[in-house]
Every structure is written in structure tokens, then in C-alpha cells.
């Protein structure tokens, strides 16, 4: 029996709920095409980082300025002036335009930054370059011991309003789970203009190299266990905020996708598993997911979407604190 696996995300009609999330795979045309062929319903391009734009410009500037006029024999800079340095968003926009030209699925651009102001204009240029939607990846490590949580939260809200005001395409906001009141924060983000929430971002985490005694930031790929966090929050938020929900982190198998859909996600985003097994893995996940619904005679995934959300589940407290207590008991009683 055929199941209708189409879904709607950010107002976009998608062929299925599998979105290839921002990763090196979505930064190159050949792998983007492979992802589409494997069945991705949409792709999110890698983030254009606020810091990267600034850093690159400044690094280029430094290179010229600090090697200029060193001696009468080396009057100019030590490196030849180039026609262009692509320090701005040009290279990114080029990739975006190429993706649009070569793919039929929606292409979602991604911006990563924190400070409201000048750089948010890139959101508009991404829209102009053809992005079907924009994912704003907001992430800040709050290290200022004088800055209270509400101030930080307000910067998020302001940023989302700014960006939303500058574009007409749908806006998804990708956030971290580290808010005192995540549910309330999500509501406020939606009120500020987010058409969708992406739960959650993963970012560089510091590690320590014991040989060199140095801090080395690194990205750890997700494992299926990471699914639990978005699963919980998808379930809690389903039906309570007026926005699409994309669940990200720990999606490795078709079953993972099913769980998130049942919890209430409109789409699921995959990164680590694709990096690990290659773009074609997406086809396997899609098949597994479809089979699950099909074997259980669902007519559409829409039917099951949110069926195990906190509001719809038989045991709403299961997503709350008591659940934590119980799982500990379960573990200990097993041994």
C-alpha cells in the first residue's frame, strides 16, 4: 500500500520529510546532486558565518598591510594584489545560485551569526540569489558573567525580527537547547517572526589534547543517542507553537525519522549519518521510514505526525521530569 509521505515545512511542499542539513555535503554541487538523487526533499546549505566574513576580510587586509613597505626593495606588499578576494558572500551566493540551477528540490540557505546589524543584509542577498527559505543558525556561548539570561534572550529576539523584516521567504531559526525556559523562548522566537524551529544546532565543542596540553575545538558527529533531546522538545512544542518543526541531531535510521515524526516533527534533518555513510544512505533511511508506515498501514505520514506528542501521547509526563526518574529505576532494576 502506498503511503503519502509528502509533508509541508516552512510553507514549502516537500516530497518527504528528509532534509539534508548543513554540512560539507551540501556545500558542493556534485554531492548536492547526489543527495537529491538519493531522495532528499530539501537541502540546507552550509552556514555563511558572520565571523568568517569579517575574519577573511581582515586576514586578507592584514596580509597586505603587514607586508607593505617593509624596505625600499620591497615597496609594495609581499603578495600580489588579486582581482577579487571573495571575502564577502559572493562565493556562497554563487554556490547557492548553482544549487538552484541544478536542483529541483527547495534549497534553504543558512546564515550563522549573532550580532544584529550590517551582516543581516546577507539574508536579503540570499533571497535574491534564489533561496527558497532561510535558516538562521543562532548560537552564542554566554561567557559574560554580567549579562543576565533575559538580555541574551532579547538579542535573539531582536535578531530574528531584523532578519524577518529584511526578507519575504520563510525563515527557520535553528537554536540550541540551552535556555532556562526553552518552550517560552520558542514561542517568543515564533512571535518575532520565525516560520519554523530547528531543534537543535550542534557546534564546535572544545576538547583537550593531552599531548600538547592545548584546547582543540572539534565537531563530534552525532550518534543515535543524540536523538533523545530533539525528540523530547519536538513532542513538547508540537501543537503549542505556530511554526514548522524540524528535528535535527541523531537521525541515523528510518526508525529515528519515524520517532521524530510521531513526536511531531514536520521534517527531520540529517548530517552525521550522511557524512558517515555517504549521500546514498538517505535513500536507505527513506525506504526504512516508508516501510514502517506502510507496514502499519498508515495512509500518510501526516496521519501519524504528532501522534506521540506530549499533547497526544497517553502519558504526557513521559516527556517531563518523572520520566527521567523512571528510566533510572528501569536501568538499575535490569542489573
Amino acid at each position: 500500500m502506498t503511503v503519502d509521505i509528502t509533508t509541508k515545512y516552512l510553507g514549502l511542499d516537500l516530497a518527504n520529510p528528509l532534509v539534508a542539513s548543513a554540512s560539507p555535503l551540501t556545500g558542493k554541487l556534485d554531492t548536492l546532486i547526489q543527495l537529491e538523487e538519493a531522495g532528499a526533499a530539501a537541502v540546507v546549505l552550509p552556514s555563511l558565518f558572520e565571523e568568517q566574513i569579517e575574519h577573511d576580510s581582515w586576514a586578507v587586509h592584514d596580509l597586505y598591510e603587514y607586508t607593505s613597505a617593509i624596505s625600499p626593495e620591497a615597496f609594495g606588499a609581499y603578495v600580489p594584489e588579486m582581482d577579487s578576494y571573495n571575502t564577502g558572500p559572493d562565493h556562497y551566493l554563487e554556490t547557492l545560485a548553482k544549487a538552484k540551477d541544478n536542483l529541483t528540490i527547495p534549497v534553504i540557505a543558512s546564515l550563522n551569526g549573532m550580532s544584529p546589524g550590517g551582516w543581516t543584509k546577507y539574508a536579503k542577498t540570499m533571497q535574491e540569489a534564489g533561496a527558497d527559505a532561510l535558516e538562521l543558525n543562532v548560537y552564542r556561548v554566554a561567557t559574560d558573567i554580567n549579562m543576565i539570561g533575559s538580555e541574551i534572550e532579547q538579542t535573539y529576539i531582536d535578531l530574528v525580527s531584523d532578519v524577518k523584516a529584511s526578507i519575504d521567504i520563510p525563515l527557520a531559526v535553528k537554536i540550541s537547547p540551552y535556555f532556562s525556559s526553552l518552550a517560552s523562548m520558542c514561542r517568543r522566537l515564533v512571535e518575532a517572526g520565525a516560520d519554523g524551529l530547528v531543534l537543535f544546532n550542534r557546534f564546535y565543542q572544545p576538547d583537550i589534547n593531552l599531548d600538547e596540553l592545548k584546547v582543540k575545538p572539534d565537531v563530534v558527529l552525532s550518534s543515535p543517542v543524540n536523538l533523545r533531546l530533539p525528540l523530547r522538545w519536538t513532542a513538547i512544542l508540537r501543537g503549542r507553537v505556530d511554526a514548522s518543526i524540524a528535528a535535527s541531531s541523531g537521525v541515523h535510521t528510518g526508525e529515528d525519522v519515524v520517532k521524530l515524526l510521531l513526536a511531531g516533527a514536520d521534517v527531520t534533518q540529517m548530517t552525521s549519518a550522511l557524512l558517515k555513510y555517504g549521500p546514498s544512505h538517505l535513500a536507505t533511511v527513506l525506504f526504512e521510514m516508508e516501510s514502517w508506515f506502510s507496514e502499519r498501514e498508515y495512509t500518510s505520514i501526516e496521519q501519524g505526525k504528532g501522534s506521540l506528542s506530549q499533547a497526544s501521547a497517553g502519558d504526557p509526563e513521559g516527556f517531563e521530569r518523572t520520566n527521567y526518574m523512571r528510566s533510572l529505576v528501569t536501568y538499575s532494576s535490569r542489573y
Binding site: Y66, S68, E73, A74, G76, Y78, P80
Partner: protein, 1184 residues
């Protein structure tokens, strides 16, 4: 039509024309002509076409000789060609120039005229180079200004086609080549109108072409050569007329009229000066001043110098002239006069009668020539018996040829004269270039900028001289009385008399951390006095604070530029600010919005920070300028070197200077530059005695000593010491000590320090601290440190990292860049062999930091021994060092022969000396003792043999010959000689400090530049791979070859040096030397070296033929197999990363190829470690 005004320097002015009328351009970098090649290359890279819509093909060659050869070939095959050069480079072109001229082939060589190296190298300007080419058959056309550099370039290109005679077009190096000036641009239409396409067609018809076969370059014999040589006369006879026709055509098109000889001055002049080049500007001002005062004087400017048209020359002079002074910017020792003078004399002689003629020299090596000097020559001409063969601009107290300059010169009042003191790379020069452009392009005013540097690559002072005025500016000399003085670095105030140049009532802008109320108390007494005496208007701005607040770090140029415009009042403030911002956009726009935003922010906040100082009525300071050298320095250092260091070298008379260019070594120790903001300080608690900090220090400013604890008597309280941990120096104490005033603050030492605090990891055994916090303490500590005796080198394993660092560096405090990748190798070499080494140094960075005045870094040990050093040329260094070896070997043989002969009288000592083992430090020390004893014995002997031997005894102790240079020398221009020397069996040691670009001339690609790296002349990323010089050397089989990298394996470096020196034959060490051209933070240069090895980009190996003799493969790989990709290494270096940004697709392509290069080379090397080069003879039984 109104001509478009542009602000360009002489190099750009000439290249604009040359590029637009050429099809093939062969180039090679040489100061001060390099920018012409760089511009041509960059224009072609971005697709700028010539006037026929074709992009000129610009190709870098391996030498100027190569460039001339390529030009010759391209001309023979029918292309329109040009090249650019100077100095020694022009000399290398001379053989081809004879050929090109002999074949009547039209071309133009543009020359930024530069001094030829004689007793010393000089990068500065005079006519000694072009005068050496006057006999080649090329026409010589001289330009006196930036405007003329463009216009004469045009005349030359047009006239060469019409006349078939090739042209050498020249203008003065630095004075014209680097002077930014407002000129009327020559339009493309004008260029088109000047070039006759029919003449180009003729040129192509003459080309070699198999469809119309012809032959050139025959060998001719006594019967016809002479006549054939005379056959070209008609072309030379016609040339002056042709040049004048082209000049007239240019005048029709542009309104600018030139003549072969341009006369300026009184129509009834009695005294005339004849000269060519930039000095004409100063002389013109002198003539205008004198004629206004009623004097009958004039100036004849020579444009077409060869062929020298006597008719035109004589006709150009007023008939009233009685006395002519001919000024030559060159010197020909032993000649009856300098060439222009001789031409003038011959001209008058041929015409019969004529005025009295005297000749004189001026301006060698860019020596200043100003209107006062020109007036002095006119005064001399007025004398009854003027001095002939005089000099002007110096004081000759030996042969008394100089004319004393008693005239004074005041520049016109309407000219704004601004002088800026800045630091190399602090942006001052760039901002000033930008300022003159703003004024030149936004107002009707004329403007001019000239830049003066000192000789150091780190902490160099730059002085910018800017003029603005309503009339054309002819002043081709430095500003003498400035009405605006800016000092961009506060610490100059205690070292340099910056206000000496300030005119009365001038404005003084100081970048000061102290506000208007505090700054007075931080000035020297002399500065205060000058501010009061000259009634200066004094302003301060804390430009560092403004720049930092705007996010510009320490770059103060934008802030100070804004303040300059506010104070100078050249433009209304609003217009000035708009123009500055426009300039910022233009200069930095491509780099990104953030760069523009931050600079705009700095502009907007600068004026609020600018404050006028209310000058107190009296001097209150007791501070004095720090003397350039200490009072206890040796006499020569005080009298001569100190004057040069104090920027007063112009005042030294002839008698003060060595007659043959010989200078004492060991002089950098007297020039305390104190340029670091932070210096490293040792924490003995954490130190593990690894000695790495001392090894890697590029300036020998971090030192290690091992000594008996008893030596600590009298140590300053703050002096740190600790027991040595290992068994190698058991019972000894050690100290790591910084030389706080010699350190450049590069932090390479801290970066390599492996010892970290267990409590706080960022705290290492050596840490950077603000210099001012520790300066006095560390000065005292360093003085005490120096007083501790050096460890006995015979008891040290010199070939180890620790052992080598216990030895005194005999190369210290050079002026190389902070964090230089080359100098740690030179220093190590000096520690290991310095007391018995002679160095031949190729021209380049290492000859500049090794031998540039005022002070030089090679020094001596406690016995007064140390490296003896010389630089010959760029191209001949291997041969130069080889010659030294031949001489030492020959003298050693002579000494040994004499000693053998004298053995009966000398006794058993003779045999001991002749059979001595000198393979280690102990053996060398013993031999020195024996030789000292021999000298004592010889002193008692009277025979001629004994006296001869006495002059040769030094050669009985083994000397070590080292040949040093960079990759430009070893891979390119000097490769032929290097190859020949490698092929010999002589014991020379070659150190190639491989920075993978021409570092000294600003980062042009060499054959060592790796694939995918961006460099000048390879701005699209070098498309081909790096030459494997080591493999070429290995192919001989008998050459010791090592590829080393200090940051990758310090032990291997020390071993390689020891093995190379021990190898009785040629040896070559190729040492990876990071350079600012790589686009890295130089503090991390050792880490980059490690990654270069880890990625297989720079594999370490030693190829020791001695191993083969022992039955082992000669090749030993000292690197492990690559463990990271080339991409990963490359992304951290600007030279590669730049291409990734600018052209990602091409970058990816080149990266793949570069990775293949690495994989293939590693594959090859891996096989080589198993290769047995010697064929084993088959057993006889099997042979049957």
C-alpha cells in the same frame, strides 16, 4: 582636449606605455626596476590588453641575462618586445644588447638607473649602470622626471620602430622610479597616433620565418666584419633627426615639447650646466632663482645621450655661453673625465673653439643634489680658474676635489612641505601615497611624494616627504625645512631628532599615548627647546587608542592621515574626509566591507581625539636623545658607524671612510635598537634545558650559557640561574637570558618552548612580558650574562641542539625581519664553525641583513675569531665561494710545503702539525696551539722560507668555506655556477635558505616557488611544481645533500650541518625558511615548518656519500610518511589560501596536482633509501 591628470610614480609612468605597445615582455626582479615587471605582469594577469587588443605575454626569466636572451629571440621571431632592469641586471644584458643593436632590431629596455656594486652594493640611483651600456649600440634616452618617464618611454618606442635602433630609456632609480607625482597621462589615442603600424609590418617582415628563410648571426672574418660594422652608420646618423621628429609629434598631440637637448635659462647665459636625469629638477630651480636675480645662467638637459649629436648639442646652447659645467652622476676611476663631460669636450673640440668646459661628479648612490649644490657649480663656473673634475654634495678632505656648498636654499613659500616619520609596515607610506593622490586628483594642486628608508627589515624607520603646491613641482630632493612634521611612532622621540627638519612656525603632529596636558613631560629637552625656538604649533593624538577602538589594531595610518588633512588645511575638512573615505574604498574595497567600515570608523573618531598642546614657556625636561652608539664603543664605531646610525652619514668626509669597502665586524652589538614592545623572560622553575628557544631565535637575542655556579658571584639580584638537569653538564648551572634591547619581540622562542606550567598551562618556561616592565632589570642581567665566560667548546658536542646552543653565536642582532626563517640557520652555522669560517654571500636578504650599514651582525669570539664575510654578486656566489676554497687550499698547500721544507729547523712540531687530526673541536684547538708555537719559532728564524711561511700559518688550521644564499640565487640566477661547483671535488659548504620566493625584492616567484602558491609573477598561483634541487645535487653521487627544517627536526638540522662540514667535498643544505611572503604569523613559523614536514611538503633527508662507502645506502629519510594532506597544511598559509579565495576552482585543480607532486616525490624518496648506487661485480664463476 584637457589632458587627464594621474598620480603615478616613474616606474608606473614608463610601464603604462611599455605594456601598451608590447607583445612579449621578459622580466626579472631587480631593485628599483622590479615594480615595472610587477605592474606589467599584474596587468596582463587581469587581461589588460595593449593598443592592438592583445594581452602582452609577460614571462619571468631566471636572470636578466635570460630576459635579454628571451627578448632577443622574441625580436628575431617578429614580436614587439620590452624588458625592465637596473644596475647589475643591465650589465647581464650587455652581451645581448650588442647583438640586438648589431642586428638593428627595434626594442626598448626601460632602466631605473641604479648604482653598480663596486666597493659596496647600493640599491640607490646613479648612472653607473647606463653608462656601462653606452657603447652597445643602443640609443640612450634620459628622463628627468615622472612626466618624462612616461613621455620619453613613448618617444623611445616610437623612435625605435622608425630608426630600427634599439633604445635604452632610463630615469633615476628611487628619485624618479619611486616618486609619486601628478602628471598628464598619455592617452591611448596618443599612443596609437605615435606608433606607425607600417613600421611594425616592416619589423615582422624582417623576422625569421621559414616561409621567407633568412639567416642572422653569421661568423664573419677579417675580410668583411669591419665593413659590415660600418654599414649600420647611416641608421645612427639618421637617429637624432628621427627622435626629434617623434618628440615633435608628441608635442603636437600633447602640447609637451621636448628636444634632444633642452635648454632652460637666460637666453644670453654665460654659464651653463649640462646634465641629465632627476638632478635637472633641482638645477632648474637653481637656474630660475639665479636668473630672477639677474644672473646669466642656464641649464642644458640631455635627453638623447646616445647617439650624441654634436650639432644638436652645440646648437642648443646660447651663443653667449663662456663656461660650461658638465655634471656626471657616475664615476670612472682613471678616466680623463666622466663620459658626459668627455662628450661635451669632444663636441666643442670638433666644432672648434667653444666655451671653457669643466666636469664634475654628483649624486652617486642617490646622494642628495639640491639647488644649493647646483648654484655652487654655477658659482664655480664664474671663477677665473674653476676646479675641474670636482665633486659636489660631499666633503672630500683627501683629494680636495669637492666644492664647498655655501649657498642656502629656501623652497618657495607657496609649497606645503610635509614630512612624516613612520615605521616600515605601519601604514605611513601607504597613507602618504594615498594623501598625495587625494590632493593630486581632487584639486588643481600639484603634489609629490618621495620616501626614504633606513636599512633594516624589522623596525625600519620611513621618512615620507610630501609636497603640495599650485605649480608644477621640480624639487627632486628631500625636504629640508618642513612646515608640517608628523611623528607616527612616539618612541622615535627619544632616538631621532625629528624636529630638526621643522621650519619656524611649522605644525607638529605627534602620535602620543600622553594627552595634551601630559605629553610635554615626556619629551627630551632638545625637543622642547626646538618647539619653543621654532614656535611650533604642537598637536597630539592617541592614534593607537583611536585605531584600537575602531577595530584596526595598532594600525594608525588612517587616524593620522585624517589629522594631517585637518591640520594642513589643504582641502576643506568635509571634502578632505570624503576624499579620505573614497581613498579607503578604492584601496581596500576589494578586501571586504568590514575593512572599509573599521577604517571609516577611525576617520570619524580621529578629529575628536586630536588636541592642541598648550606649550609651556620653558624647557623643563632633563631627558636627552639616546646616543646611537654607546660612549664606550670603539673609535671607528663612534666616529663613523655612530654617525651613520644617527642618520648623519651625509656629513662624513671622504677620509672617514675605508678606501676599499672593508669594515670591521661585530658592530650590531653597539646599535641598541630596542624595537620590541614585549620581550621573553625566563622562568627557571619550569625550564627543561632543551635549548630550543636559543636555537630558534632569529636575532641571537635569547641566549643560553652553562657555567660553574661560582661564576654567579656579583650577579644582579634579579639574575636567574638554575642547576643544569642532564648529565651532559653535570654540576654546572645554566641561564637563559634575553638581550632586551636587541630582541625584536617576534615570540618565536615562546612559541617553541615545550615546557608548560602544571598549574597554568599558558605559562611556559619562557614568556613574553611588556618590555618597559623589565627593561632596566634585564639590561643589567644581560650585561652580567655576557660577562660569564663561554663554555669550553672542546668539551661540547657541537653537533647537538643543546651543545650547539652553549656556544656563542657569532651572528647576532641582524636587521632581518622579526621572526625571520633564515637567520636561525645562519646563527647555528656561526656557532658551530664561526671561528674558522669564510662566507661568500649571494646578494639578497642574507646579504642585506648580513652586510648592510651602519652595523653588521657577524661577530667574534673571546679570542677575536669569527666569520669573515663578503658579498660579490647575485649570480656568481657559488663561484665566488669556490674561488675562496681554491685560494685557501692553495695557501694551505704552500704552507704545508714550506713547513715540510723547514721541518729540520722547526723540529718535531712540524710533523705534528702536518699530521694533525682536525676533525673535532679538540683537534682544532690543539692545532691552533701548535700553530701559535710554530709562529713563535718562525719569529726566531731568518730565512725567506720562514718569512713566507709566517704569512701562511693561519692556513694550517682547517678553514670552513660557506656559500650562502636564497632560492633566487640557488635555483635561478646562480644555478649554473652552483651546478658547476657541485660537480667539483672541492670542500665547500652551501647553505640555501629556501624561502621559495625572491624575498629581498618583495616576493617574486622563483623556480623554488611551489605549485599553487601565489607570488608576484605568479599571481594566478604557480602552475608548475617546485624544482627538486636536492635531487639534482644527488645525481652527482659525491655531493652531500641535506634537506632540513628547523621547526620540523632540530636535531637533524644540527647533524646535517656537522655532516656537511665534515664531508670532504661539496655539500649542500637546503633549509626551509619561512618568510613574511608566506602569509603566516611569523611567531608560529616553527610550527609551520613542522606541518610542512608532516604533510610531506618538505620531507627531511640526508644524502651522505660517505655512507655508501660503508656499504649503506647514501639516502636517509629523516621524515616519517606524510600524516596530513597538503590541503590541510596549505590552508594555514596566506600564499595558498589567497588563491583559494580568489579563484577556488583553479585552486582545487592546483591542489590536486600539488598533492600528486608530494605523493610522487615521497614515493621516489622512499625507494631511494634502498637504492645502492654502486653496481656489484658479478662473481667470476657466474660470469662465465
Amino acid at each position: 582636449m584637457t589632458a587627464q591628470h594621474i598620480m603615478v610614480d616613474g616606474n608606473e609612468a614608463a610601464t603604462r606605455v611599455a605594456h601598451s605597445v608590447s607583445e612579449v615582455i621578459a622580466i626579472y626582479p631587480i631593485t628599483p626596476a622590479s615594480p615595472m615587471g610587477e605592474l606589467a605582469d599584474s596587468w596582463s594577469q587581469v587581461g589588460k590588453p595593449n593598443i592592438w587588443g592583445v594581452i602582452p605575454d609577460v614571462t619571468e626569466m631566471q636572470s636578466e641575462g635570460g630576459a635579454a636572451g628571451a627578448v632577443h629571440g622574441a625580436l628575431q621571431a617578429g614580436a614587439l618586445c620590452t624588458t625592465f632592469t637596473a644596475s647589475q641586471g643591465l650589465l647581464l644584458m650587455i652581451p645581448n644588447m650588442y647583438k640586438i643593436a648589431g642586428e638593428l632590431t627595434p626594442t626598448v629596455i626601460h632602466v631605473a638607473a641604479r648604482t653598480l656594486a663596486t666597493h659596496a652594493l647600493s640599491i640607490f640611483g646613479d648612472h653607473s649602470d647606463v653608462m656601462s651600456a653606452r657603447q652597445t649600440g643602443f640609443a640612450l634616452l634620459a628622463s628627468s622626471s615622472v612626466q618624462e618617464a612616461q613621455d620619453m618611454a613613448m618617444v623611445a618606442h616610437a623612435a625605435t620602430l622608425r630608426s630600427r635602433v634599439p633604445f635604452l630609456h632610463f630615469f633615476d632609480g628611487f628619485r624618479t622610479s619611486h616618486e609619486v607625482s601628478k602628471i598628464e597621462a598619455i592617452s591611448e589615442e596618443t599612443i596609437r597616433a605615435m606608433i606607425d603600424d607600417n613600421l611594425i609590418a616592416d619589423h615582422r617582415i624582417r623576422a625569421l620565418n621559414p616561409n621567407d628563410p633568412k639567416l642572422r648571426g653569421t661568423a664573419q672574418n677579417p675580410d668583411v666584419f669591419f665593413q659590415a660594422r660600418e654599414a649600420s652608420n647611416v641608421y645612427y646618423n639618421a637617429l637624432p633627426g628621427i627622435v626629434q621628429v617623434e618628440m615633435d609629434k608628441l608635442a603636437e598631440l600633447t602640447g609637451r615639447q621636448y628636444r634632444l637637448f633642452d635648454y632652460h635659462g637666460a637666453p644670453d647665459a654665460e654659464r651653463v650646466v649640462v646634465m641629465m636625469g632627476s638632478g635637472v629638477g633641482a638645477a632648474t630651480e637653481a637656474v630660475d632663482y639665479l636668473t630672477a636675480a639677474g644672473e646669466k645662467v642656464g641649464l642644458l638637459t640631455v635627453h638623447l645621450y646616445r647617439p650624441f649629436s654634436i650639432d644638436h648639442f652645440v646648437a642648443a646652447l646660447p651663443e653667449t655661453v663662456k663656461s660650461v659645467g658638465v655634471l656626471d652622476r657616475t664615476k670612472e676611476p682613471g678616466a680623463t673625465g666622466e663620459p658626459l663631460y668627455l662628450d661635451a669636450v669632444a663636441a666643442f673640440a670638433e666644432k672648434g673653439g667653444g666655451p671653457r668646459v669643466i666636469g664634475g661628479r654628483y649624486g652617486l648612490s642617490s646622494k642628495e643634489f639640491d639647488p644649493a649644490m647646483a648654484m655652487t657649480v654655477f658659482d664655480e663656473l664664474a671663477k677665473e680658474e674653476p676646479k675641474n673634475h670636482f665633486t659636489v654634495g660631499i666633503t672630500d678632505d683627501v683629494t680636495h676635489l669637492s666644492l664647498p656648498v655655501e649657498r642656502e636654499w629656501t623652497e618657495p613659500k607657496e609649497v606645503v612641505q610635509a614630512v612624516f616619520f613612520g615605521l616600515g609596515a605601519d601604514g605611513t607610506v601607504g597613507a602618504n601615497k594615498n594623501s598625495v593622490k587625494i590632493i593630486g586628483e581632487n584639486t588643481d594642486m600639484f603634489s609629490q611624494a618621495h620616501f626614504v628608508y633606513d636599512s633594516k627589515k624589522s623596525g625600519a624607520m620611513t621618512v615620507s616627504h610630501l609636497r603640495f603646491g599650485p605649480n608644477k613641482i621640480h624639487s627632486t630632493y628631500e625636504i629640508q625645512q618642513a612646515n608640517f612634521v608628523a611623528c607616527h611612532q612616539f618612541n622615535f622621540m627619544e632616538k631621532v631628532d625629528v624636529l630638526d627638519i621643522a621650519a619656524e612656525g611649522a605644525t607638529f603632529l605627534l602620535n602620543s599615548p600622553y594627552g595634551p596636558d601630559e605629553v610635554w613631560d615626556h619629551l627630551t629637552a632638545d625637543t622642547q627647546q626646538q618647539i619653543l625656538d621654532k614656535k611650533l604649533k604642537f598637536y597630539v593624538v592617541d592614534a593607537v587608542a583611536v585605531a584600537q577602538a575602531a577595530g584596526l589594531g595598532g594600525r594608525v595610518n588612517t587616524v593620522l592621515q585624517t589629522c594631517f588633512f585637518a591640520l594642513a588645511g589643504v582641502l576643506p575638512q568635509d571634502e578632505a574626509i570624503a576624499a579620505i573615505k573614497n581613498g579607503i574604498k578604492k584601496a581596500y574595497g576589494k578586501r571586504g566591507q568590514v575593512v572599509i567600515d573599521r577604517n571609516f570608523a577611525a576617520v570619524d573618531s580621529s578629529l575628536a581625539a586630536l588636541a592642541e598642546v598648550t606649550v609651556p614657556a620653558e624647557v623643563s625636561s632633563t631627558m636627552e636623545l639616546i646616543p646611537p652608539v654607546p660612549a664606550d664603543a670603539p673609535d671607528f664605531v663612534q666616529r663613523v658607524i655612530g654617525m651613520i646610525a644617527a642618520r648623519k652619514g651625509d656629513l662624513l668626509p671622504v677620509s672617514a671612510l675605508p678606501v676599499d669597502g672593508t669594515f670591521p665586524t661585530a658592530t650590531t652589538q653597539y646599535e641598541k635598537r630596542s624595537i620590541a614592545l614585549e620581550v621573553p623572560v625566563w622562568d627557571p622553575e619550569i625550564c627543561i634545558d632543551c635549548a630550543r628557544c636559543a636555537l630558534v631565535c632569529p636575532h641571537a637575542a635569547i641566549r643560553l650559557k652553562v657555567y660553574d655556579p661560582a661564576e654567579l658571584d656579583g650577579a644582579p639580584d634579579a639574575f636567574q640561574s638554575k642547576p643544569w638537569k642532564g648529565r651532559d653538564f653535570a654540576g654546572m648551572n645554566t641561564t637563559i637570558q634575553v638581550a632586551p634591547e636587541d630582541c625584536t619581540g617576534c615570540a618565536v622562542c615562546v612559541n617553541v618552548c615545550p615546557a608548560k606550567s602544571k598549574e597554568e598551562v599558558k605559562h611556559k618556561a619562557i614568556n613574553m612580558v611588556p618590555k618597559m616592565d623589565v627593561l632596566e632589570e634585564e639590561k643589567a642581567n644581560f650585561d652580567f650574562f655576557l660577562s660569564i665566560p663561554d663554555y669550553d667548546r672542546t668539551k661540547v658536542k657541537t653537533e647537538t641542539v643543546k651543545g650547539s646552543q652553549v656556544l656563542k653565536p657569532l651572528f647576532e642582532y641582524s636587521g632581518s625581519c622579526a621572526g625571520c626563517g633564515e637567520t636561525p640557520y645562519v646563527k647555528l652555522m656561526s656557532q658551530m664553525f664561526g671561528d674558522r669560517m669564510i662566507i661568500a654571500n649571494a646578494t639578497g636578504c642574507s646579504s642585506i641583513y648580513g652586510g648592510n650599514l651602519p652595523t653588521t651582525p657577524y661577530t667574534v669570539d673571546e679570542d677575536g675569531r669569527g666569520p669573515s664575510w663578503s658579498n660579490s654578486l647575485f649570480e656568481d656566489n657559488a663561484e665566488f665561494g669556490f674561488g675562496m676554497r681554491l685560494a685557501v687550499d692553495q695557501q694551505t698547500e704552500m704552507a704545508r710545503g714550506l713547513l715540510t721544507e723547514l721541518a729540520p729547523q722547526v723540529g718535531g712540531l712540524a710533523g705534528e702539525i702536518l699530521d694533525a687530526d682536525q676533525s673535532n673541536e679538540e683537534g682544532l684547538a690543539k692545532q691552533r696551539d701548535r700553530v701559535a708555537e710554530l709562529k713563535r719559532i718562525l719569529a726566531t728564524m731568518d730565512s725567506p722560507e720562514a718569512k713566507r711561511l709566517d704569512t701562511l700559518t693561519d692556513y694550517l688550521v682547517k678553514m670552513s668555506i660557506w656559500i650562502l644564499g636564497g632560492d633566487g640565487w640557488a635555483y635561478d640566477i646562480g644555478f649554473g655556477g652552483l651546478d658547476h661547483v657541485l660537480a667539483s671535488d672541492r670542500n665547500v659548504n652551501i647553505l640555501v635558505m629556501d624561502t621559495e620566493v625572491y624575498s629581498n625584492t618583495g616576493g617574486q616567484a622563483s623556480k623554488s616557488t611551489p605549485r599553487a602558491a601565489v607570488a608576484k609573477f605568479a599571481s594566478g598561483g604557480k602552475p608548475t611544481g617546485k624544482k627538486d634541487l636536492g635531487m639534482i645535487a644527488m645525481s652527482y653521487g659525491h655531493v652531500y645533500v641535506a634537506q632540513v627544517s628547523m621547526g620540523a627536526n632540530m636535531t637533524q638540522v644540527a647533524k646535517a650541518f656537522a655532516e656537511a662540514e665534515a664531508h670532504d667535498g661539496p655539500s649542500i643544505i637546503i633549509a626551509f625558511s619561512p618568510c613574511i611572503a608566506h602569509g603566516i604569523d611569523m611567531a608560529t613559523m616553527m610550527a609551520h615548518q613542522k606541518e610542512a614536514a608532516d604533510s610531506g611538503y618538505w620531507p627531511l633527508y640526508r644524502f651522505n656519500p660517505g655512507e655508501e662507502a660503508e656499504g649503506r645506502p647514501a639516502m636517509k629519510l629523516d621524515s616519517r610518511a606524510p600524516k596530513m594532506s597538503f590541503r590541510e597544511f596549505a590552508k594555514s598559509e596566506g600564499r595558498f589560501a589567497m588563491l583559494a579565495r580568489a579563484n577556488p576552482e583553479h585552486y582545487e585543480e592546483l591542489m590536486d596536482q600539488a598533492q600528486d607532486d608530494i605523493d610522487n616525490r615521497w614515493h621516489l624518496y622512499e625507494q631511494m633509501i634502498h637504492v645502492e648506487r654502486t653496481a656489484e661485480l658479478a662473481d667470476e664463476e657466474e660470469e662465465v
